[in-house]
Amino acid sequence: MSATHTIINLPDQRTATLPKRNYINAEDGLLSWLLTGDHKRIAILYLISITFFFFIGGAFAGLIRLELLTPQPDLVASDTYNKFFSMHGIIMIFLFLVPSVPATLGNFLMPIMLGAKDLAFPKINLLSWYLYMIGGIFTLAALVLGGVDTGWTFTTPLSTHYLNTHVVTTATAIFVAGFSSIFTGLNFIVTIHRMRAPGMTWFRMPLFVWSHYAASILMVLGTPVLAISIVLVALERTIGIGVFDPTKGGDPLLFQHLFWFYSHPAVYIMILPGMGVISEVISTFSRKRVFGYTAVAFSSVAIALFGFFVWAHHMFIMGVSNYSALVFSLLTMLVAVPSAIKIFNWAFTLQKGSITFETPMLYAFGFLGLFTIGGMTGVFLGALGMDIHLTETYFIVAHFHFVMVGGMLMAFLAGIHFWWPKMTGRMYPESLSKLAAVTTFIGFNLTFLPQFILGYLGMPRRYHAYPPEFQVLNVLSTAGATVLGVGYMLPLLYLGWSLKYGAIAGNNPWQATGLEWQIQSPPLTENFIETPIVDHEAYDYEWLAHKTEQEVTTVG
């Protein structure tokens, strides 16, 4: 059936069926899902919940952009608007981006990619999901009770002494959700160290695993510092412990240091797993090994390491000493380099490949362009004198949306589409998905490119009203947001549709090399019938061709 423009290879739809036994139908009943230890079921639980929170966070984004159509604060009251952007940030960062790839795709795929039957601690994995849900429910509670307007950054003394909203409820939510993240990272690290199949050396692991390893280190070491910062804010609000209160001798800048010590590594927690997805997708749709495998693997770890030492670049104008400003700016420049290395390695993976443009690849291309822009604008901000003009404006908003939405979210969608057939056994409709990818790309650029211009003009972030001369750019941005929203709705619709009506995918519709593609779709609960013995490198297409030949000759 080999068409020249696609590598999709589906079984004969007239006779194909889903495998009789798989992880989805292994046990019936709601409780079998809610009390499961199966990493794949937990991944699906996460997928449903993060999708739910994504659309809530997205609704807030829509409301923000709606208000910003006009310069006047005329849609909602200022306090309400402040709650919109606070809830948008908190939900999107803690309840969507941080768990997105690791808790769904990472949970589902890592054990299989390593040749294991499950993660090291299945019960802790389930606990992670419950902690996430508790964090989510507390956030919803705070929302329903009236919301919180601290901004996602909880800056003291505003959050400790000057607001009357549900700060402690939200702080508790984030604290609990943080432990969800810590336990996921812990689980991943132990699994990678201890449960690789025979023959699976570190340098035979897929790059997806390397990225998750690096992200897990950040989760495990960074998140606890966020936890203690949040606890101190809650204590200051409730019983008056004044560690950040200048009237009691405390220093509000201490909170900034503690908060950003986590929140900067957090952005690498968010992006690294996405980069892992991109490695898998680009190699599959080029039919060759990622260029510079070792460089990409080490870059992931380098990003994690350097990422711990740049936090004060969020504080350049806040009165840190000149000396520390210099140090953090220099380190910020260093942390930018591994990301650049990865972009070029991915680009050169395409050289001498055999390239097709299925939906995951389209999202990956979008990632390459948008992450380059987002990453480079990070260099703008890392330059001290430049940061003075750009910080706290829409330039920052544009920068982080480029890396987190144009980068991370595109990577997430690439991964969802790439592994959808493996997780569900069904293919999604390719033309509709391509349309969604292109729509998203166009909508995204229209939304966020004008914001760079607005930032340089000086429009501050978190502004409810703005001077009239900024309106045209804001209108463009809102128009883009509408298109972007449509682009995100489409997958919800057609992926849902595909669960019942999608084509049967078979084991390996992409003819890819990973261990996950050598087992049935959807997989068995125990993943493998017998433990695989790994005797080939990652992305070894010759091994795949040889294996396929063997299967053809022996089955026949």
């Binding site: 993660l119 601690f121 299945p122 690290i189 510092v225 203690i228 019983i239």
Partner: protein, 231 residues
């Protein structure tokens, strides 16, 4: 020989045991980062407000603090004995040592309660009712301290903020540990750890020793600032 506790996703019991221990060490690393933020804040403020920290620290009771230190070390000792008892499969001794560990842990919390209560009475809990008069005018309270200037006296509130945050977090970890001890003692009583499966006892032991070590840092940092013998 497959133990009944052998989880199906591990190839061998050794792999399971190693994974469990590794996981616990990793968890303790996260705990170090958690307490680390508090220690960093302490370092900063002790540097800035040294005089206030000295006077405030002298308010803490060394006898009580030292007692608690001995109690925790004893508790850790019994926990280590418990791990040994599990390894040599002596159920009775294991249960005894776990109970002793728990009892000493509760003694620690009791002493802590006494200390906290004293702070409450003297209005040394940070917040609206915090009272600095004892620091500004120590002689009126029969104390031999040098009086602090009022602005420096205000900074004692920072010391107590950190005191309660740090010892409070520590106490919370003790409480969680004691709850786990009750559970483990019950399981030990039922013989679950008497046939070679010692991982939960070992790993809990790691946790308990860690909580112990945190206290060993807290005690000198909080109680022993600039103390002079005979003062």
């Amino acid at each position: 020989m497959a133990l009944p506790q052998h989880r199906h996703h591990f190839e061998t019991p050794e792999q399971q045991r190693e994974a469990g221990t590794f996981g616990m060490w990793l968890f303790l690393l996260t705990e170090i980062m958690f307490f680390g933020g508090l220690f960093f804040a302490y370092l900063l403020y002790r540097n800035w407000y040294h005089d206030a920290f000295v006077v405030a620290s002298n308010q803490l009771s060394i006898p009580l603090g030292a007692t608690n230190t001995a109690v925790l070390i004893g508790s850790g000792f019994f926990m280590a004995l418990g791990v040994w008892a599990a390894e040599v499969k002596k159920k009775g001794l294991l249960v005894l040592f776990l109970i002793l560990t728990t009892v000493l842990g509760c003694v620690f919390l009791g002493v802590k309660y006494v200390e906290y209560h004293e702070k409450w009475e003297k209005h040394h809990i940070p917040g609206a009712h915090f009272d600095v008069s004892e620091f500004v005018n120590p002689h009126a309270y029969g104390l031999k301290e040098q009086p602090l200037a009022p602005d420096m006296a205000q900074k004692t509130q920072v010391f107590f903020s950190l005191y309660f945050a740090m010892t409070g977090m520590h106490a919370l970890h003790m409480i969680i540990g004691i709850v786990l001890l009750f559970w483990l003692t019950w399981r030990a009583h039922r013989g679950e750890f008497s046939s070679g499966y010692v991982a939960p006892i070992e790993n809990f032991g790691l946790y308990w020793h860690f909580v112990d070590i945190v206290w060993l840092f807290l005690f000198p940092l909080l109680y022993l600032i600039n103390r002079h013998p005979g003062a």
